[in-house]
Symmetry: C5
Subunit: 371 residues, 5 copies
């Protein structure tokens, strides 16, 4: 019976806690790498583009409608951050590509939300793509989203399908006039965005980690079959996180070692920090995996010890009755001459002998530590 | 009984789903590396050679009969793609070798369908050999095929035993006048062909992956012995795919790092893309392997929990009857003087006591959570 | 029953033995890397700063109150060791930063006690951060503490939250006029401090190791369920130590390979020594992990052998009575004509047969080595 | 009982299938590395030396008696292949060494058949040592033999203890006037010999692999205890092969990367081929190891499922009789007043109730899928 | 019962077979790296120093009493080998240090017998430290000893606590006028000493390996619980050896790659030989570890198969009696009208039916292969 409850719990573990719009896409075979095909799940109706243009003195925020006027809006002496929400419209993506001179196969990559995290150096820009993991505390689920960045000398373009308020802290820091973010260039801005992504890696892992820690307490206090479902669920979730964090780590490491004029020397320490952070995230998933695997062992051992104790108890219980029933059987025989049967107190003596045998056996099993 | 069904299912797992004409070849020991011996399974009667000759303006498709006229057909200012279907005829292979100046030990490698994926640089050409994995949706089987490419400055020769319509999308792209494939050289054409191979790696793995995901659902809903057969089967299949994909990944990585005038700088990003894709394929097989291994654990745990529950129930059932049978045995004894026997309502009292004992035991086991 | 005792023991293993003020901090997402926010658990009321200023001739120890007078106190021809206890006051940290020209993101790292061990080279200083593990013999617990060092040409600043008397041996060596520590520069002083940290790694691991060795003896003498709790506990603790020692090892290796004028050539052998020591610590944790895993195997095998022996004994006990009870049953039947029943000595013959059967069965089981 | 058969089968697994004269040698401690001591098992009476001297035009085969006349026999404008069968005679080995200027510690290595595969560059020759694995189809055993090669500019000397007809294909190719082997130098000849060794690695592994594949079929059709012995045996054999192939692979890789005038540029592609082949052999052993480990799992699972089914069946069988026996016991009591006893059809009603209970229980267990 | 014997055997496994005076030393925390403190177990009363001074012509052996006269004894045109037995006297060590210009922190390392194997290059000498493993055949135990070497241009100093006759073969070779050891310098002498250490690695491992091979035979012939103790013991011992051999291997590799005028080019091949030998030792421990792990599996499988066979037999035995006892119970009922009871031959018919049922069940179980 207990197993059923555990299974009920396990039935839809992934759906319940991880929202992954990246899956379920069949790769189209043999198309040109330039083909602008959206590969992913459309998560919004329209494409929404915002421009934040700033230097240390001034700050301008615009919502862009006509992409063709882009060029006019952008000054080469300020930093322009263009955030594109919505990747499913190939005409818009292609217009952005033309405006900023982005190769068509890079645009194709931007529109592919199943892309493996990567970093690519081009003549006048860096292309960075990685996964964002966002833990939604209300829904208690982790949302996976593909993020692409185009880092140019004065312009940074960020792409994502779903509008995330995830970059809001950076917007806020730009508005609040914090020094470095306003005076350093696009490379520092890119760092700030990537930093948020990595912070979310750590945060998502920690959120799962807390649940694993709670499970540990339950495991020690009252281990029952339901816990197995939870252990397996968390194991799946942590593997899931790992599958996105590990290639992200690889990518960040590559980026930090890249020698390109687009990443200025003064931002190098920040990118090193990024490497440290993503490594911390990655080590965190590793250690929670280990913890889960230990928990699984503790669970199995506890359960099997429990079962063994029950079976041993039941067996011993049976064993005690076996000689007693045998004795009763002996005096149930219908032999003509059974001397004990005729003695008046035989019945009571039989009871006495049975009690003595039982006590002796219990005592013996106790001594052997079987009970 | 249930095990038999599982075993029936497992009996010919590989035959059912993976068609591998590459196996079962005994290596001939000590022959010269130049010997032109076909090593593989002949899968077609004749050798069929097609030539596609094109530049940005013109396009010509010919089926070649007389190999000796090759040279005349090929212009040095166009790209010529020669596709050879059928490797079993050593005279044809050797004539091609003579025409294009291909070393005889390379020809020997081309005729060996059991070759480990490799890439070799020669004076005037690159030799590339790898495995194609094609998932046939109708038959639900994976077909393995060895593909060799000779990449020269103006000519690309592709070899395979079975005619595959697998390269058709590339032919179509050439015919449809897509720009890059017509204007870039043989290196881009080679990329396009390799891209299809890698796409098929991903696709074959995904096709298997979907079956694994379905199994997951079944595993949680109604785990029975049949599932074990499926888990073991998929495990074998995924290992099978891995055995071809991993060396392919190695080879693609080597190719992408090769410094040769035959791979022009402008195609470098495409080869990097290829590296990313094959790594994705490889990671996909890795994660499905992990998933399968977790599923196996879940299966074993579920099955053993089920069995334990059954055995515990049966044991408890027996244990409840043991004291009852003992009591009945007591009053089956033939002692002359058993006072209870003479009392008129003893029989009913005995029943009452038995009911009380049973209820108490059930209650006790429930409290101990053994039931 | 026994399992409960084991579980009691395991209930709060971590709390009992490892005091980790570093955990339970949620990372704030999206803040600037310069933000001076204390991330950790405040472990003292005030901030306490000591200065030891020395060269081979003179030695001065001062407790500093006004940080602004720092500069006056420090001579460029002596070595000045500033030890800061207490990281929670951002104004003090920031003032120190201004006085010595330390970048604000480094100060931010100093205030983050959850930082991954790291080493960073800056224009005029090295920044080193790692974890201290202190084994408190009285409380039998391991205390984790983050330590940061700023190594400048003539000044070394060490930061920690809790005042540790951990660096006292170094202070003592400075006071006792030992040669090298007084005549070599800040790099040797830093080595001396790091050496203490690494020594504590080895010592903490050894302290745990001794408990593991004791457990081994118990395991072989009297294995019971309580041991399982201890094995699991020590496994958790050793993993815990590993999680801090491994990144520390990485960091020390990086430091020893760093080419910077701040680490003079004459101290290089000492840093190599440090690398050897931390590697020894790391190998020690590895081998205790292996030992624990072997112990777990021995425990499981012992327990299961024990259980199997019990169950086999009980089963054999039952089996011996089965034919006896059957015989008694036979002669309890009420058939009209059972010839044996009428023979006067039948009852005794039955007993005789039963004894013979029992002896034969015991003998048979002994011969088969089942008993 | 079944286990005994399996154990019989396992008793001398290694002796039965792998003939290893290399083992059982105690290393002599502290002797000079120059000492010419034969370390191995003498496998022939005499030492037999053959010389094949050839260039593209002429070919001469001689059996050598007087080693001192070596120099006269050898022309510097031809290739001379000296094959030495028999390593146990130190005077002959030492004379060869003197004649060709081979260092005494190399001679010592040649006489040590337990040597780890190695390649060493010397002033005027290369020294190569590796293991030959020969699968004898008639005896169905694998024979291990140490092979040493001295590759000089015009002379190649091959050493082995037992005369093997293993190099016959090369001799045949030399006699048959195949071009490259006659016109290329000693480096190509060495390649041809090494190629045979590697081919035998693949062949020996495949021969074992076929037996493993057969076992797979048996495992699925009729799994019994005998299979366990075979799995363990093959596991041991595959580990055995691995232990020789892996260091061989290492050595071949080293050799192929060696920059020495003795290995001419034109033979480089052949040595690369060699690397590919040995890697294939090595991967083959890896994948058979995996297959065996999977088979072991399938075996254990199948066996335990079988056992569980048996035990469940037996338990259920017992459980069905328990209430029936209890009922019979009830009516065997001798109470004065048991109303049912007096009713004429009670006996038949009792039978009826028993049948109903049995059917109900069977039905219940079927429904629960326990039967 | 059997388990107790196994446990008796296991009780003091390490003490019985490995004598390790290196353990049980608490590291002193915070002392200067120059402090000359003996860390280890004193194994002899006095310090004993011998000098062997030789070149190709002459040979002088002296036992030294006054260390200060060292300088006079040593000629720069001969090779002087000073062997120091006894490390516990800091004044002697320090005097040696002063005489030969050895840094105090190196002396400190020499006096630390717990040191991790290392090699250090200094201005005028190399410092080498590693573990000696000596297998004592009489006591059947392995003795661990720390060995340090100081390799100078004309002087080689070897340090060890316990006098070992372990270097006697080298002394003998020096006395016997073998060429190379007398004419080559200290680097060759150091090689000869290290060679003995490595030979002992191989020998100790082989000695343990032979016991493991014997165990294999026992395991297949008569597996009982005692074997488990031996497997676990050998596993511990092999891990123990590994823990010393692996860092030794690392150290030898480092030494062989060191570019220093102290290691002349002519001895390079000997150091390469050393690398090969230590790798062979290391691979030997690896393969014995694998063998032990396989043996453990075979043991567990055999034991569990045995137990399962016993339990199955017992269960089947019980099951056969269950219906028989039931039938007897039926005819023990006291119903007024049980028609069978009155028929004269009923009793014999009952016996007949019982025999038939028993035979049928045995036949059925045989057919099902349960018996």
């Amino acid at each position: 019976m207990a197993i059923e409850k555990a299974l009920d719990f396990m039935k839809n573990p992934l759906k319940a806690n991880i929202k992954n719009p990246l899956k379920k896409q069949k790769k189209v075979i043999g198309v040109s790498p330039d083909a602008l095909v959206f590969r992913g799940v459309q998560r919004r109706e329209t494409v929404d583009i915002q421009l934040i243009d700033f230097d240390s003195d001034k700050l301008e925020e615009v919502s862009i409608v006509d992409i063709k006027k882009f060029k006019d809006l952008i000054n080469t002496d300020t930093v322009s951050w263009i955030n594109v929400n919505g990747l499913h419209d190939d005409t818009i993506i292609s217009e952005i590509g033309e405006t900023f001179g982005i190769e068509s196969y890079v645009l194709s990559d931007i529109m592919n939300t199943n892309l493996r995290p990567k970093v690519q150096e081009h003549d006048n820009y860096l292309f960075v793509s990685l996964k964002m993991l966002m833990h939604d505390e209300d829904l208690n689920e982790i949302d996976v989203e593909n993020i692409s960045l185009i880092i140019m000398d004065h312009v940074l373009i960020s792409f994502q399908e779903k509008e995330g308020d995830v970059f809001d802290p950076v917007r806020q820091r730009i508005r609040d006039q914090r020094k470095r973010i306003r005076t350093f260039g696009t490379d520092y801005l890119a760092f700030a965005l990537l930093d948020i992504v990595i912070d979310n890696y750590i945060y998502s892992t920690s959120a799962l980690g807390e649940k694993i820690d709670e499970l540990e307490v339950d495991l020690l206090e009252d281990p029952d079959e339901k816990l197995l479902g939870r252990i397996n669920l968390y194991k799946k979730e942590i593997n899931y996180l790992r599958r996105y964090i590990k290639p992200g780590q690889e990518m960040i490491l590559l980026l930090s070692k890249m020698e390109t004029p687009l990443l200025k020397k003064r931002t190098a320490p920040f990118y090193k920090e990024l490497v440290d952070n993503v490594q911390q995230a990655s080590e965190l998933t590793d250690s929670y995996r280990e913890i889960l695997s230990d928990q699984l062992n503790v669970y199995h051992t506890t359960m099997s010890t429990k079962l063994n104790d029950v079976m041993k108890f039941l067996t011993i219980f049976s064993v005690i009755f076996i000689p007693l029933t045998f004795i009763a059987g002996i005096y149930g025989t219908n032999f003509e001459y059974v001397p004990e049967l005729d003695y008046r107190y035989s019945y009571f003596i039989m009871w006495g002998i049975m009690v003595v045998i039982s006590i002796f056996m219990i005592f013996y099993f106790k001594k052997k530590k079987w009970l």
